[in-house]
């Protein structure tokens, strides 16, 4: 295999293999996204960049819900790195299957999973379009040439590479849902701080997560006001000026609010930490699950090594 193989395919394969699938995906992703947004959020919170946090609290009885949060974090992180290091498409595909199995076991809401996948679609779609066309032709590669369009050489290795990356990104992103949705955020952050992450880091996450909702609500109100005054977004300098002022206003208000929030926290006796949300205990079951999981990650890496 020292030469570049050219495979000549008829021109009508181009719409069949490339254009139609691309168009269908490009149309389906925004449609699905808007549909799901409508379904998940009934009216009151129309912005799905701000998901409800504590889904699964209390009602979760799966194996993963009962898993000690420290074991869960360490395992997921190690496993994510193992997945990210894979090189062979088959291994990456196996990783996606494992993630899907975990999602089933954790009984995660299907909508949230689809939304996560859709959020990745932009970047991965870009890779899938760009890489086949730009990957340099190495010896042993196969190039597809569509009919008489000789300038359009599609490198099969690029497709495989982009698909592998997509599968890895998907496998890791899908695991975020069971990691976070199976325990309330304060418990997860408590687990992090027990693992040696500075306690302040966790508190900052909690605080900024909480005020994210406040500020986005405020931004929505300001947007409504601008619309009421007849503002319409266009590609011109006036729009940019209005948006610049809009951002400035968000900052002015938020800095002022920050002061008041901090005063209120101190007035309530804030001394640099919040109360612990509860005690954590590691049982043999937790360690067993961790062991199984790490074994799965190791098996994936080994499989990848054997294949590649």
């Amino acid at each position: 295999m020292t030469e570049v193989h050219h495979i000549q395919v008829p021109l009508w394969y181009l719409p069949l293999l490339v254009l139609i699938p691309a168009a269908v995906t490009a149309a389906a992703v925004p449609w699905l996204r808007s549909r799901l947004k409508k379904q998940v959020v009934p009216g009151n919170v129309p912005d799905w960049s701000i998901p409800p946090l504590d889904d699964g609290r209390g009602q979760g009885t799966s194996l993963i819900h009962r898993w000690d949060v420290r074991c869960k974090i360490v395992t997921m992180l190690a496993y994510s790195f193992a997945v990210a290091s894979l090189r062979h498409p088959a291994a990456a595909g196996a990783a996606v299957l494992i993630s899907l199995a975990v999602l089933l076991a954790a009984k995660v809401s299907f909508h949230k999973v689809v939304l996560r996948v859709l959020a990745l679609a932009g970047f991965l779609g870009m890779l899938l379009i760009v890489m086949p066309l730009t990957v340099p032709a190495n010896p042993g590669d196969t190039l597809l040439v569509f009919g008489s369009l000789e300038w359009l050489e599609v490198n099969v290795r690029g497709i495989v590479l982009a698909a592998t990356i997509g599968a890895k990104a998907m496998a890791v992103a899908l695991l975020m849902e069971p990691l976070l949705a199976t325990a309330p955020l304060p418990v997860t952050l408590h687990g992090l701080s027990r693992l040696g992450v500075p306690e302040m880091a966790g508190q900052m996450v909690l605080l900024s997560y909480r005020y994210l909702h406040v500020f986005s609500h405020e931004a929505r109100r300001m947007t409504a006001g601008m619309k009421a005054r007849g503002f319409e977004k266009k590609t011109n300098l006036d729009t940019l000026r209005a948006l610049g002022n809009f951002l400035g206003m968000i900052f002015v208000r938020s800095f002022e609010r920050t002061e008041r929030v901090f005063d209120a926290m101190q007035a309530r006796g804030y001394k640099g930490r919040f109360p612990d949300p509860g005690r954590l205990r590691i049982q043999w079951r937790d360690i067993l699950l961790t062991g199984v999981w790490i074994a799965a990650g190791t098996a994936l890496v080994w499989f990848d090594w054997v294949k590649g």
Binding site: S85, A119, A167, V172, L212, K233, T235, L240, L243, G248
Partner: protein, 209 residues
Amino acid sequence: MHISDGVLPLAVTIGGYAISAGIAAWSARRIHSRDLPKIAVVTSAFFVASLVHIPFGPTSAHLLLPGLAGALLGPAAFVSIGLGLLLQCVLFQFGGITALGANAVMMGVPAVICGWFFQQVRGRARMPQAVAGGLAGALGTFLAAVFLAGLLAAGGEDFFGVAKLALAAHVPVIVIEGVVSGFTIGFLARVKPALLQSSFRDAAGLVHD
């Protein structure tokens, strides 16, 4: 603008974590530890601001704001941006937990550089400040795009095409970001100039013990 999981080589992701941990420690030391909760609250404002979409012809771009964050927060911008990325990758729909360190370096280092640049260049009057803010905003996005391209190119020859495209795609964003940042800084210089002081701590006017 994000690098998702599985794109970068393992060494780059781990290196990204190591570098960003170092810079975050430096950045956190420049702030009073009691001010960290405030940085957290301000981070959410930046997060919300970065969700604003700006129309650009038939499509739209959303702001990245590393330059503005640097101008307003100074050294604290790195902590703030790291926190914002963590929120984005974990709580929201993106994955990217393994690439988090690299993403933080990509966005945070330009922010700190821009903050320094803004403090050096800006004058007292409103117009020079607005111009300096606009330059800082454009510079921040430009540097972030260069970092992005560099990180992608670290994946080997196969990624050069993607890196070039990513760089080209950011050209309009750089312009938009510069203009909007200029207007924002001009607005702040007129409305609340205290926010543009050398660091977040001074701007907040906290009484220290």
